[in-house]
């Protein structure tokens, strides 16, 4: 077996037999390389690993993981609603609404989430007298992610071709019907991959909520670190816990992209 037949992706049209073998071997090599790099960097630390201590707090990890999942899911639903509304406003002919949406999107996308969390938590939530920090957390994430979703949906709407609009006009659709049966379904389809990516971002970004003491996954992991006087152990389950949610979402997004290639 030559190097080529083991590691090189066959050229298009070339029907190589051992495709799955190549994939498996190459994937293993990639994983192995990554592990060696990681292992080597930790080996130089001469660090005393203490996995039992971390394992004792597994319920705390699980608890945080579920909290992250819940906060993210609820935030996503609100973010989608806010994003859709903002997109509709940005397409409105009533100019104040249009500028409101523009300001919202630009301000949110132009400032760090960390700054928004502080501002929202210490100024706005305080002024509005919201006590429950989880409500505040969901509100922040929804507003933050909503701006990105708004941009994604707007791009989706703008990707619907002129000929499609002419076609809708030609069969006598009203403006509303054109939106409902032509623009919205096509825009949503072309936005799905980006929306999936944004969902993964939302989940990862929610880790910043730890700074306002919301007991989500990241905060709980940090607490375990503190309680067990360890430095790294909790970060491994933390990374894996996020991957368990984000990897399937990203696979799903790839899958949807493949499926929809036919439709546009």
């Amino acid at each position: 077996m030559s190097f080529n037949s083991l590691f090189l992706e066959p050229r298009k049209g070339n029907t190589a037999k051992n495709k799955s073998v190549r994939k498996a071997v190459s994937f293993l090599v990639a994983i192995l390389t990554l592990s060696i790099v990681l292992f080597a960097s930790f080996a130089t630390l001469s660090y005393q690993w203490n996995w039992e201590a971390a394992f004792r707090y597994r319920l705390k990890f699980l608890d945080g993981w579920f909290t992250t999942l819940k906060i993210s899911s609820v935030s996503f639903i609100f973010a989608f609603v806010i994003g859709s509304l903002s997109t509709l406003c940005s397409k409105s002919r009533f100019l104040p609404l249009k500028y409101l949406s523009l300001l919202y999107v630009e301000l949110i996308r132009g400032t760090p989430l960390l700054v928004q969390i502080f501002l929202f938590y210490y100024v706005i939530a305080d002024a509005a007298n919201v006590q429950n920090r989880y409500v505040v957390g969901v509100a922040i994430m929804a507003i933050f992610s909503g701006a990105y979703i708004s941009e994604i949906l707007r791009a989706g709407i703008e990707s619907v071709g002129r000929s499609q609009l002419l076609s809708a006009k030609s069969i006598g659709f009203t403006e509303y019907q054109t939106f409902r049966y032509v623009i919205a379904p096509q825009a949503l389809r072309s936005s799905l991959p980006a929306l999936a990516g944004q969902t993964a971002n939302l989940i990862k970004d929610s880790s910043l909520l730890s700074i306002i003491a919301i007991s989500e996954f990241t905060l709980n992991a940090q607490e375990v670190n503190a309680i067990t006087y360890s430095s790294f152990e909790s970060f491994f389950p933390l990374a894996i816990g996020y991957l368990i949610i984000t990897l399937p979402i990203m696979r799903l997004s790839r899958y949807i992209e493949e499926r929809l290639r036919y439709d546009t």
């Binding site: 002419l166 006598g172 389809r189 439709d263």
Partner: protein, 243 residues
């Protein structure tokens, strides 16, 4: 059908796509618009079918003034069918849904009736096997026949077709032209922009030659195509013969 266009101007920015077009056609069942590319055929069709309002001038079809009012033009579009060069079907819907959806949403058919009527059209155009496919899974000729089915499904008074075979290879062109001959036999009134002089002469009873945004010549198809009177028309038709 009766068409009457008086001094019609259509400007896009600085460009006058139609520059004072006059055309009067009476008792015609199939009108063919011919002329060089960029001459204004598509623009004329968009105005006649009520897709756009003219910058100035007046358009009367079968005694009905098309006019400026958006709602009125939409109501007019409901009474006519329009077929585009690039089919313009909805890619996210099946072929059947492309035909049934306007019947249901625009013309008030029940879902069942809309589907039944659409199915009968798919049979008529020999597309039974393709009803559940998306446009991307169909050939150009099949898509164009679906588009024709969509246009005639609500039994329109007039069908407007804009170079329906220009994007197709010869074999598919033949199947689409057959479908159009079928419409003519079925007594549909038709206005078609076309580059195919043979088809224009056989299918149309009247021909209008449009160039540089103006009417050059109009008359019975055989006369205009075989013995054009104006030098501009002679030049265009000679160029067509060369190809």
């Amino acid at each position: 059908m009766k068409l009457f266009l008086k001094d019609v101007v259509q400007s896009y920015g600085g460009l006058r796509a139609l520059d004072g077009l006059d055309l009067a056609v009476e008792d015609t069942s199939c009108l063919a618009l011919i002329g060089p590319s960029g001459g204004g055929k598509s623009t004329t069709l968009r105005l006649l079918s009520g897709l756009e309002a003219p910058t100035s001038g007046s358009i009367v079809i079968n005694g009905q003034e098309i006019g400026d009012d958006t709602d009125r033009r939409r109501r007019f579009r409901k009474q006519v069918g329009i077929v585009f060069q690039a089919y313009n079907l909805f890619p996210h819907l099946t072929a059947l849904a492309n035909v049934a959806l306007p019947l249901e949403k625009v013309h008030g058919y029940s879902t069942t009736d809309a589907i039944l009527k659409s199915e009968s059209l798919f049979e008529r155009f020999q597309l039974e096997d393709h009803m559940m496919k998306k446009p991307a899974e169909l050939s150009g000729g099949q898509n164009q026949r679906v588009a024709i089915a969509r246009a005639i499904a609500p039994d329109p008074d007039i069908v407007f077709l804009d170079e329906p075979t220009s994007a197709l290879d010869p074999e598919m062109t033949a199947e689409v032209l057959d479908a159009i001959y079928g419409l003519i036999e079925g007594e549909k009134r038709i206005v078609i922009a076309t580059h195919q002089m043979g088809f224009a002469q056989r299918a149309a009873d009247t021909v209008a030659l449009i160039a540089e945004g103006k009417l050059v010549e109009t008359g019975p198809s055989k006369q205009v195509i075989e013995t054009p009177n104006t030098p501009r028309a002679q030049k265009f038709l000679e160029a067509c013969l060369d190809r």
